[in-house]
Subunit: 169 residues, 2 copies
Amino acid sequence: MNDVARDFIERMGLMAERDGMFSRIAGRMLGFFMLDGKPHSLDDIAEQLQISKASASTNARFLEQMGVLERCSSFGDRRDFYRLGDSPWEDLFDVARHRMENVLRLVDNTASLLPDEMDIARKRLQVWREFYAFMLDEMDAQAERWRQRLARTSAVEAGSLPAAISERD
Amino acid sequence: MNDVARDFIERMGLMAERDGMFSRIAGRMLGFFMLDGKPHSLDDIAEQLQISKASASTNARFLEQMGVLERCSSFGDRRDFYRLGDSPWEDLFDVARHRMENVLRLVDNTASLLPDEMDIARKRLQVWREFYAFMLDEMDAQAERWRQRLARTSAVEAGSLPAAISERD
DNA sequence: TTGTTTGTTCAGTACGCACTGAATGAATTG
DNA sequence: CAATTCATTCAGTGCGTACTGAACAAACAA
């Protein structure tokens, strides 16, 4: 593997960790698969990223559940292969959206539960509620715009999604 | 302090921590000041949140630097007071924006540094570059829309921003 | 059946980081 | 000057959590 690639992968890991997106190794995996579209087995991933097989398994499954990675298989091969999902951004949107939804729910709930003598606080919370509701709407619209923009240019990278796999390096 | 309020503050702390926004105590502080618009001294904060004064100081200054809190003072009082800034969302936008900017820079940089034999990877990265650039533009537009929407309804909560403070409980 | 090859689970560990208490510094008063 | 009252800094500690190695489970081959 290349020095530039290694550096990229490492930085992706650090950023993912710092930004609270996911663990360092999961971030490295994302970086790895952003560079390489081909499917890789767990052993392969573990070796390339120099991590334990256990970690590879755990984090790959985690990223799969997030929708970032995709598990795929091959005829006559018992191994699991992973590669970048067909719409990883879609799910990155969802993560952010879900977090915001939680805060909205909390603020909303609290505002309604607050005792009468605290309606100054309630009014303050309602502005925040508005803010988070606004953000949610905006994010949905944003995701939709990206989807459309992607559809317009998707011809460029078509034909890159076989259900089964042919070969590996 | 109320049970509902305490629960809200606690949950805000947990969410802030889980979402990687900031530390648990910083999250609790934000929750506290979302409910109470009045300025509070460090000792006051430390007592209400049942944390050490050191932690109160550190986290308050951190939130101030993030633009979420605002330091204010009072005549004849040497103490520092804190309260919610006049536009905390503005700065929450900035945090998210800055993070995204970092990823964009990394992806962009890597794409240009990749050796010639890896231009399949480069093309893959360029789609991601597009994605993050798109997100940045969208976020700016989004922040602007919120600003305008807030300006339309700001009359509701006007008169809540004295430079110095009058009284405390 | 036994022996391989895979993925997963789990106890243990190591590491980072947020929080605390005590010391320090700075400003003010008597 | 000493004493007080505030904020900040810093070494130490505790806690959570991500990672590892080894044991386990499951699927398959011989």
